[in-house]
Symmetry: C2
Subunit: 336 residues, 2 copies
């Protein structure tokens, strides 16, 4: 049996409330009482019952992080930063994997864990704004990524169009002319893909070049295998491109692999740029140039937005906030 405030109170010869006051650092407790209580706390090894505290306060100190899959490096890194940012601010993180499935994303957004969590950070793949309309009464929500319209909830995201444009422009400046875009998606879940494609096209046109539809290569998912497959199919269709802009790093790493197998040298024959700056890109052969979103900034901002919502929950509802996270271009060997 665990010790409760009551046990400590009996041991210290004071009331339960006084013990509670000591535990919570209430000012007006005499030094003598305080030390008695503290001794009893230590003796009995008291640990507060967070379920009871949560029930009483209406706050659990726990936020949920829902993302497609924890084992994808980008999400693992985001999760790391969120857990860390939350811990720094005194919160704990509970993790849900949605597998990018609409039903799971809807469930978590609808507040499946009501009163166990105080807020939710969601990185959606399939969810649309319609799914979120009219959930004003639910737990505060912060969205990661530009996949959902920004007027339904707080949102933190990099400017995908701008970032894709930067990456493509970098390749153009290196003198590349036939740049393929790897990772095109037409499904509802492909909002990021659309934005990155848009940025890519913008850069190509701004450089006075024509868009070759053959160079827009689709990928079902954004894993290594899809990147490798995309490159193989591209190479079958005709002369190889002189550069690839891959919509994420996993695609790019798969692409590096396929290029290597095809006997093409990177960056000599084909330059490659990815997106996400996962740690692996620094150690691949060759190391991978990539768009580097400020992941710690994204995580910190997301937690801050959530905490701000929590603090403001009593007052009038404020309009959703949209934060654009910084990004840079990390130039490495694959496009150096």
């Amino acid at each position: 049996m665990r010790t409760r405030l009551k046990d400590v109170a009996e041991r210290a010869g004071v009331s339960v409330k006084t013990v509670s006051n000591v535990v919570n650092g209430y000012e007006h407790v005499t030094a003598k009482t305080r030390s008695q209580v503290e001794a009893a706390l230590v003796d009995l090894g008291y640990v507060p019952n967070l379920a009871a505290r949560g029930l009483r306060n209406g706050r659990s100190g726990v936020i949920a992080l829902a993302l497609p899959e924890l084992h994808a490096p980008y999400f693992a890194e985001i999760a790391h930063h969120v857990v860390r940012a939350a811990a720094d601010r005194g919160w704990t993180v509970l993790v849900d994997e949605t597998e990018g499935r609409l039903d799971r994303e809807r469930q978590v957004a609808a507040g499946i864990r009501a009163h166990l969590i105080d807020g939710l950070i969601l990185s959606p793949l399939a969810l649309t704004a319609a799914d979120l309309d009219g959930r004003a009464d639910g737990v505060p929500l912060v969205l990661l990524g530009e996949r959902v319209r920004h007027d339904v909830a707080d949102r933190v995201a990099v400017d995908n169009v701008q970032a894709a444009r930067d990456a493509t422009a970098h390749l153009l400046r290196q003198g590349r002319r036939r740049i393929a875009a790897i990772g095109v998606q037409r499904s509802a879940a492909g909002a990021s893909a659309r934005l990155r494609l848009q940025g890519y096209r913008k850069a190509v046109r701004e450089h006075g070049l024509d868009l070759d539809p053959v160079l827009a290569v689709p990928a079902a998912a954004w894993h290594r295998a899809d990147g490798a497959a995309a490159v193989r199919s591209l190479l079958e269709l005709g002369p190889p491109p002189d550069a690839l802009f891959c919509f994420n790093d996993l695609l790019a790493l798969g692409a590096l692999r396929a290029l290597h197998e095809a006997g093409l040298r990177v960056p000599d024959d084909v330059a490659v740029v990815g997106f996400d700056d996962i740690e692996e890109t620094r150690y691949s052969t060759p190391s991978l140039s990539t768009v580097s979103p400020a992941k710690d900034g994204i995580a910190g901002t997301a937690v801050d937005l959530l905490v701000a919502r929590l603090a403001a929950q009593a007052g009038a509802p404020s309009p959703p906030r949209r934060v654009v996270a910084a990004h840079t271009l990390a130039v490495r060997e694959s496009s150096g």
Copy 2:
């Protein structure tokens, strides 16, 4: 304001307890009452308050997973499998990062989240058995890995000695004779390192070869950078080895990088085997041979052990259980 059982009860014209009975699937409720209550539940969008339920039942339905760092691929994959296994069994996972720091590991083991979690799965780095002695009253604990003596808590781990021996024997069978062990650690946190070194030595001796101390290369941490640094220092000391057994995949990937920079071909000049079978090893250039622990099995077993403890908590304490997880050797290009 969220709806409570009370609101639903008023709407349906029954008592709070009856609503509770319906929600919990209690048998003896008339069809009529049931349908009335269910209608009210839907109308008001009732969601149970898990904090209150947890307080009353003494169970929250949440387990904690504490590991050094979520962004290391091995731990990310373990976390993925644990979250999934827990979800399959109706549990939710809360994540703590310890950074491998002793104080943090002690805190989580001591039950910092008491009553918010029902059980704990901990992957310790620095913790010793002494830290766990006498915590019989705490929340059920399952340890991952062989770092801590197996008689203090339930434990799931691969047989590190055997696995390291298998990996080294594989290299010997390929005709390699100067095999370096990368990742040696002498600190308290290096229990896995010691076991893997032991297995490596065993295999070398069993093959009738002498151990060359130069070939046991230390690494402060087990990240890519450490693997690269270890190889560079090894190459400075004398003639290159003809194979590397790296104590984890990140070391091996860093090593591949350093070998490449040194102009050594893998596997022609130097064969490389890693440990963990993270997804990245299938796409590196060359792809990496590695010891493959059954990660889903480890995660599933860990959750099962925890759930079993929870179910048995009322009865007499049973002795700690030790489960040895399966491992195989995935042979890929780096030692093919």
